[in-house]
């Protein structure tokens, strides 16, 4: 085995030193009834050559994003990733280290996390950021749990129906076992219904959580939503697309209490859904309730600047049963990618990426809505994603255009049975005008003839 450096004579010598005859003897503490004596049902060992060949074969039967014209989004986006990220985050000194328990031997990662926190705080205009959580969905659930721990006497969490359905499902799972009610506020015209929200929020409301741009791509009136929450003393939780923050108001500007979001768009690969990272920022007032790791600056005995994990008394390894979260680590290396991405883009680049997304998605929306039979489902302002209403079920449309190598977006019937003809179309800065025009042509053809749908290669 290539990863073990013990030779047979060494093993013999070690066994003698331990005072046992055989390797089997080392496992004597496992009682006989608990032992497994069979053969594990595993494939035979493969060599690197064989395993690599398997990938080559897999490539033939896979259509990767690079071999299609994709407008898929809905929480995971194909944004541009600068080359420098792989080279720096791919350094083994970063990725084969563990959580920086020994700060003197981990200044590299600790400094990098401190800078990550600084840049997330700058981007969101929040006062403090943690070192990151698992992903956007669980990050939002953690934010809700944190709010529950802050407003111990209140009993109701209010969430907009326009957040990602999987995020809503995650919140639901986390709240199931607590004595806290969950109220979902309906949408009107593709955005959170402010009147319904005002009716739902009262003195018993712990927090109001919304997403911006929301799941349908639309820009919420975050200022109005936050005001409604604050008037009743409820905490404001904003889940945001970090790529939008060069253009859209950051949560700190509308006085949000907690800001979370999916960090994948910041230099993260798509990987069929993970690993990503959830960024998590909040007001300093809540520092002792924030889940996850936090790095702080301090100095050593000689006055040199250095970084340590701080506020550790919040965490499970000290507080155990009284911790408000069970999170141990962060998403280290993926968050590092996020930090390098933000440093790479800088204040102007992040705005430019946003402007490109905005211009291209609006070009696409205008073009697609002009096709007979198609129209935009909502009038609300949007950022990089919009809902297109098709002349027939969106899943069928997707099958129709697949022979052209196009994935036109995500069919919303997946979560909303009443939106059978609705397609969620994402347009990032990577899409070219030609690709958008090709989508328009394909949709026009698919809309023109109602029959003859084929499922060639397109699955569900």
């Amino acid at each position: 085995m290539p990863y073990i450096s013990l030779t047979e004579p060494e093993i013999r010598e070690m066994l003698d030193r331990i005072g046992v005859e055989t390797i089997d003897d080392l496992f004597a503490p496992i009682p006989e009834q608990a032992r497994f004596t069979g053969k594990l049902d595993l494939p035979a060992a493969a060599s690197e050559i064989e395993i690599t060949r398997e990938l080559t074969e897999a490539a033939v039967r896979t259509t990767t994003l690079d071999r299609m014209n994709s407008f898929l989004g809905a929480g995971a986006y194909d944004h541009f990733i600068p080359s420098v990220i792989d080279h720096l985050a791919g350094r083994t000194e970063f990725y084969t280290a563990y959580t920086p328990y020994q700060p003197e031997a981990s200044q590299g990662m600790l400094t990098a996390i401190f800078e990550y926190q600084s840049m997330i705080a700058a981007l969101t205009r929040m006062e403090v950021s943690n070192a990151s959580l698992y992903d956007g969905a669980s990050g939002l659930a953690e934010a809700v749990m944190m709010a529950v721990s802050i407003h111990r006497r209140r009993k109701k969490v209010v969430v907009s129906a326009a957040i990602h359905p999987e995020y809503l499902a995650t919140i639901r799972t986390y709240l199931t076992n607590l004595d806290t009610a969950l109220e979902v506020v309906c949408t009107e015209g593709g955005v959170t219904d402010a009147r319904a929200l005002a009716a739902a929020v009262d003195q018993d409301t712990i927090c109001v959580a919304f997403q911006n741009p929301n799941f349908f791509g639309n820009i919420e009136d975050v200022v109005a939503l936050s005001r409604i929450a604050r008037e009743q003393g409820a905490l404001v939780i904003a889940s945001v697309d970090p790529i939008s923050l060069g253009i859209l108001a950051p949560p700190g500007e509308y006085d949000a209490d907690i800001c979370v979001g999916e960090g994948q768009a910041l230099g993260g690969e798509l990987f069929f859904g993970g690993p990503y990272f959830g960024f998590f920022a909040a007001k300093m007032d809540y520092i002792r309730r924030i889940p996850g790791r936090i790095v702080g600056e301090t100095e050593d005995g000689e006055g040199r600047r250095g970084y340590v994990l701080t506020f550790q008394t919040r965490e499970q390894h000290i507080r155990r049963a009284k911790a408000t979260s069970n999170i141990c680590t962060n998403q280290g290396i993926i968050a590092l990618r996020g930090a390098i991405y933000l440093a790479c883009l800088g204040p102007h680049g992040i705005r430019e990426v946003g402007e490109l997304c905005l211009a291209k998605s609006h070009y696409a929306a205008e073009k697609l809505a002009a096709i007979p039979g198609y129209r935009l489902a909502f009038d609300a302002p949007f950022f990089k994603e919009f809902v297109l209403e098709c002349p027939k079920p969106a899943a069928e449309i997707a099958c129709d255009v697949w022979p052209d190598g196009i994935q036109p977006g995500v069919a919303l019937s997946r979560w909303f049975p009443e939106m059978e003809n609705h397609l969620l179309v994402a347009v990032t800065e990577k899409k070219s005008r030609e690709e958008i025009d090709a989508l328009a042509d394909a949709l026009a053809r698919a809309g023109a003839h109602e029959s003859g749908t084929s499922a060639r290669g397109a699955g569900r």
């Binding site: 070690m14 080392l26 004597a28 009834q33 035979a44 060992a45 493969a46 395993i51 897999a58 896979t62 990767t64 994003l65 994709s70 898929l72 995971a76 600068p82 720096l88 000194e93 970063f94 990725y95 280290a97 959580t99 020994q102 003197e104 031997a105 200044q107 590299g108 990662m109 400094t111 981007l123 950021s129 070192a131 995650t170 799972t173 986390y174 199931t176 950051p250 990987f271 069929f272 859904g273 790791r293 790095v295 702080g296 100095e299 005995g301 600047r305 701080t310 499970q316 507080r319 069970n326 141990c328 680590t329 993926i334 390098i340 204040p347 680049g349 990426v353 070009y363 697949w402 994935q407």
Partner: protein, 486 residues
């Protein structure tokens, strides 16, 4: 000489750029024309303005201030800091895995789904469980998911008022924290003088209120719970369930399968046992294995393989607890473990635990010549040593010695855990350390023990060779500076 590394923001100069974006090929659009002004950003974010050269220098220098598995012996107990094979990194860089969107149609990604399915099958084989979910993002997350499932199972089986979860005093802090998050009440079970769960204490605590027990096996002392079968029986007879924290699974791979010895659900740490790199803190991955009875409660979606050979994600699961995160799971991490298990094969997997346990016991013998080993008998993958025997080192000797170890080029073991041993180190060498490395570790401890007698200030002022000496954690907590803005 080590020069203090400037922060990115301190290198920032107006006008510098690390990346250029293409010019727009669509008609110009002013954001002000389509977005109401009160919903727009007022001032640009204070991000650094630097070049790619600055970035490369900065992060490369930072990386050099880190100890890592590729540069140092890293025997952190219960963290299984084994070598991370490079093929795993290349494997997941394949576009087949990396360039795939989570909502891409399943027909276009059958090979990927098949690899995920096969990973589940391999995890079933090593754990003995009939059902797996790979959704949880980390060990603590998997643990939480299992407890949520327990809660739902009890609710369906007339046990809604079973709220107590028994947890040994040697357990990781995540155990009680996870229990509380599910609305359970943790009840501590004392260890006996052999470092194992006290069966009598357990019996006296089990009742009609008991929902479950959370056990770590081998436990955090590196000892196999010899009474595990009896423990499982006691719980099951009382109508309760048994969860196993799989942090220490590396020790028993191929030698014992948790479901076989009575465990109802467990989590596995792919970043420990199955060679996913720890990433400086993440991402990990915490798949769970559960009994057939619990399978309907698994988070959705669940991966299945139909008779036609196609793999599909099944979202329609009536009894499912729901979701614990977005999308399917940490695929990039999971498939590193797929690659690892394929390279190891059946024989290799057994070799892992054999050598991990051999290394730990050999090191225990060597270290035992210098330090006290409170439970000095055959251990599994790790052991706990006590550092109390240094009269010239009255204050926090486990900490002082750990800091000195850094000077000798070794990452210290886990310190001050488990909580039931004073001034302790938890040492887990893993199977990938060589005999020379183990002997070098023992020699370093011998040197430190000598220094503790003769020059204790060498320890109390350590480390001397790191970029910084000991950092003021009181100042960090009292005068928090958590961003570069202060």
């Amino acid at each position: 000489m080590i020069i203090e590394e400037k922060l990115l923001i301190e290198r920032s100069k107006p006008g510098l750029r690390a990346i250029r974006l293409p010019k727009s090929d669509v008609p110009e659009l002013r954001a002000e024309d389509v977005i109401p002004s009160h919903l727009m950003r007022q001032a640009p974010p204070e991000l650094p303005e630097i070049t790619e050269v600055d970035l490369a220098r900065h992060y490369t220098r930072l990386s050099q201030k880190n100890f890592c598995v590729d540069t140092h012996t890293y025997p952190l107990g219960s963290c299984t800091m084994k070598y991370n094979p490079k093929i795993n990194e290349d494997f997941i860089r394949s576009p087949v895995i990396r360039r795939v969107h989570p909502y891409q149609s399943e027909g276009t990604i059958q090979p990927l789904l098949r690899m995920l399915y096969d990973t589940e099958e391999m995890l079933k084989a090593v754990s003995g469980f009939p059902a797996i979910s790979m959704q949880p993002a980390a060990g603590a997350h998997g643990e939480l998911t299992c407890l949520m499932m327990f809660r739902a199972w009890h609710r369906d089986h007339g046990g809604e008022d079973r709220r107590e979860v028994l947890i040994p005093d040697s357990a990781h802090g995540t155990n009680p924290a996870s229990a509380v998050l599910c609305g359970f009440k943790p009840v501590e079970i004392k260890s006996n003088d052999r470092g194992l769960v006290d069966l009598e204490a357990l019996k006296s605590r089990v009742s009609g209120k008991t929902a479950a027990m959370m056990i770590t096996n081998p436990n955090t002392l590196g000892l196999f719970e010899e009474q595990i079968v009896a423990i499982a029986r006691i719980l099951h007879e009382a109508g309760a369930l048994l969860f196993m924290d799989g942090a220490n699974f590396n020790a028993i791979l191929g030698r014992a399968r948790p479901h076989d010895f009575g465990v109802d659900a467990m989590h596995m740490n792919l970043h420990k046992t199955f060679a996913v790199p720890h990433g400086g803190g993440g991402p990990g991955s915490g798949p769970i294995g559960v009994s057939a009875e619990l399978a309907p409660y698994l988070p959705a979606p669940v991966l299945r393989r139909d008779e036609d050979g196609a793999c599909r994600l099944d979202y329609e699961r009536e009894k499912s607890i729901g979701r614990v995160r977005g999308f399917y799971g940490s695929v990039g991490a999971i498939l590193r473990s797929y690659c690892y298990l394929r390279i190891l094969g059946e024989e290799g997997v057994r070799r892992v635990s054999d050598m991990a346990v051999l290394n730990a016991n050999y090191l225990r013998k060597l270290v035992g010549e210098v330090l006290r080993i409170p439970f000095d008998r055959l251990c599994m993958h790790e052991f706990v040593a006590e550092l109390t025997a240094f009269p010239n080192l009255p204050e926090r000797p486990a900490l002082q010695a750990a800091k000195r170890l850094l000077d000798l080029g070794i990452h210290p073991p886990t310190t001050y855990f488990p909580l039931i041993v004073n001034e302790c180190w938890m040492v887990e060498p893993t199977e990938t350390e060589s005999k020379e490395d183990l002997e070098a570790f023992a020699e370093a401890i011998r040197q430190i023990a000598r220094e503790a007698e003769e020059e204790p200030e060498l320890l109390t002022s350590a480390p001397h060779t790191m970029p910084v000496s000991r950092l003021d954690e009181v100042k960090a907590a009292r005068e928090p500076r958590l961003t570069w803005k202060g």
